[in-house]
């Protein structure tokens, strides 16, 4: 008789805190159920409380992996982008989140991992390692990565320079990058405030960009970041 193969998960001995922080995460029924319900509630909340408006949904590719980049003014950015992707892909949508903030304690890790499905991104020491995880994620079909290339929330409303990570991810690949701009986040939930206020949010999703024609090198990384920065900013100007 042929021997059976067992497939115990690699993190079987991990504690709850480690399991939440580990990435990629093993699909589990309870977190999936909670996330699905939370996503539905979130969509209702954003529609009513923030009168969320999303333009350019038709730009989202139906298949394949892609990256959404957005300006970063508040936590509402992530929540709004999660509402923009199709509900069926919510478990394969991963907002890159600062590990030092979103995974700093057990309750925060639980919210980030279960509700947001966040990808713990190391902003400081292991940036390259985190980028490699992102690259691996995007190699698989049908994953969506949400990145805020500014690296942190702005307090002034002025967009910061884009950091090079996104450029390094997509240079020389045919991965689609969609520039997005969220209007109203700064007013609705400025950094430091405990609760969001009921201001209108307006998300604009631009057409997909690809950078397969550029070499994987420092110069093209800067070109890509500059291009994306310009696209996001011009989406922002559309509303004015």
């Amino acid at each position: 008789m042929e021997e059976w193969e067992y497939h115990p998960p690699p993190d079987i001995d991990a504690s709850m805190a480690e399991t939440l922080r580990n990435f990629p995460r093993e699909p589990k029924m309870l977190p999936y159920a909670i996330r699905s319900i939370a996503s539905l509630l979130l969509r209702g909340w954003m529609r009513t409380y923030h009168r969320m408006q999303i333009d350019g949904r038709e730009n989202l590719p139906d298949e394949g992996s892609y990256i959404l980049v957005c300006n970063h003014t508040s936590h509402l950015d992530t929540l709004c982008m999660m509402c923009a992707v199709p509900l069926a892909r919510i478990h394969r949508t991963f907002p890159a989140a600062a590990a030092d903030y979103f995974f700093s304690s057990l309750p925060r890790s639980a919210v980030s991992a279960i509700l947001i499905n966040a990808l713990p991104f190391d902003r400081e020491a292991k940036g390259a390692e985190s980028l490699a995880i992102c690259a691996k994620l995007l190699e698989n079909e049908g994953n969506i990565l949400i990145i805020f290339p500014e690296g942190t929330r702005t307090t002034s409303g002025k967009m910061a320079r884009f950091r090079s990570g996104v450029g390094r991810l997509v240079a020389g690949t045919d991965l689609a990058v969609l520039p997005c701009y969220l209007d109203g986040g700064l007013r609705a939930w400025p950094k430091g405030k405990l609760f969001p206020r009921p201001y209108k949010l307006h998300l604009r999703i631009g057409p997909a960009r690809t950078y397969g024609h550029l070499e994987k090198e420092g110069r093209s990384v800067r070109t890509i970041c500059g291009d994306l920065e310009e696209r996001v900013a011009s989406l922002g100007r559309q509303g004015k």
């Binding site: 059976w4 193969e5 067992y6 497939h7 115990p8 998960p9 079987i12 001995d13 991990a14 504690s15 709850m16 589990k28 029924m29």
Partner: protein, 314 residues
């Protein structure tokens, strides 16, 4: 079972006193060893695990019948989940979900009154449930129109349900009996004492391995020592079941002493076959839930039917 009955139950209060006494004693011993400069980090972690588990168990029994049944059912669900994760059955959400549903159904069957007899817990359906659940599990590949690898998935699901679910959940049925406090507390206490005795005798006198291909830590001395302790315990704790005759005490001792260690060995060969050390990391210092409740899985149903054979539905 209810809060007010627990407050008035001498059996419940005595067990609380025994367990608290033992915990304080163990804490003092650990403290003294620590002050003597011994490394007690591993036993201290195990001890902290007990400090969390014991109040949970006593708390559920204190709250009454429903809380006890829900608690036992949750343990069965978590235990099955650990088994499913370890074997890879968990990748198949249909099958895992079907067993979850079946375990939820068993919990309901334990809670509802018997539709034909005037007693709580639907005895007939509980005992017959494997027929229906195994049938349902076997039908899932047909519903999904799949053949490849299905025998393995079906077999794992059946073991998962029958062994980790149904057999273990007999423990919950004791909550429906008039001697609930005595049976539940005795079993929980005796099974753990049996585990500790096997470990201690094995450490002190163990040379010959009991089943060397299954577990390197279990010795013949531990096995015999644990049975000796478990055979003595019913006499010391006779107050738990005052209606027992001596022959029932002997049977109780054998069931806990042998059954407890067999349950341990079953988990051991499952783990060894898969190639893992612990079934999970749910309880710090103890491994997974299954590493803790494994000894109960044979004991609960066999003790249950022994009691029912001699003393009927009461």
């Amino acid at each position: 079972m209810s809060i007010s009955q627990a407050m008035q139950s001498d059996i419940f209060l005595t067990y609380v006193a025994i367990v608290v006494g033992l915990l304080v004693f163990a804490g003092v011993v650990l403290g003294v060893l620590y002050l003597l400069g011994k490394n007690v980090s591993a036993p201290a972690r195990t001890y902290r695990g007990w400090l969390i588990m014991i109040p949970l168990v006593l708390g559920a029994i204190f709250l009454g019948r429903e809380a006890t049944i829900v608690g036992v059912s949750l343990l069965a669900v978590i235990g099955f989940k650990e088994f499913a994760r370890a074997t890879g059955l968990y990748d198949d959400w249909w099958m895992t979900g079907a067993v979850y549903l079946a375990l939820g159904m068993l919990a309901l069957v334990l809670l509802v009154p018997d539709p034909r007899l005037d007693q709580s817990g639907w005895y007939g359906f509980f005992m017959a449930s494997p027929v229906f659940v195994i049938a349902a599990i076997l039908l899932i590949p047909i519903l999904r129109n799949r053949a490849k690898g299905q025998l393995q998935i079906v077999s794992l699901a059946i073991v998962g349900f029958v062994y980790f679910g149904w057999m273990f959940m007999h423990l919950g049925y004791f909550a429906n009996t008039p001697h609930a406090y005595g049976y539940l507390l005795y079993l929980a206490f005796a099974v753990e004492i049996n585990d500790i005795a096997a470990y201690t005798f094995g450490k002190l006198f163990g040379k010959r391995k009991l089943r060397e291909a299954i577990s390197p830590n279990k010795t013949v001395a531990g096995f015999i020592g644990a049975i000796a302790v478990s055979m003595t315990l019913p006499w010391l704790l006779w107050f738990s079941f005052p209606h027992f005759e001596p022959v029932h005490l002997v049977l109780t001792g054998i069931i806990v002493g042998v059954g407890g260690q067999l349950g341990d060995l079953v988990i051991s060969y499952i783990k060894r076959d898969i190639g893992i050390k612990d079934m999970g990391a749910t309880i710090k210092g103890h491994g997974g839930i299954l590493d803790r409740v494994d000894s109960m899985i044979f004991v609960a149903p066999i003790f249950f039917h022994m009691v029912r054979w001699f003393h009927g539905a009461s």
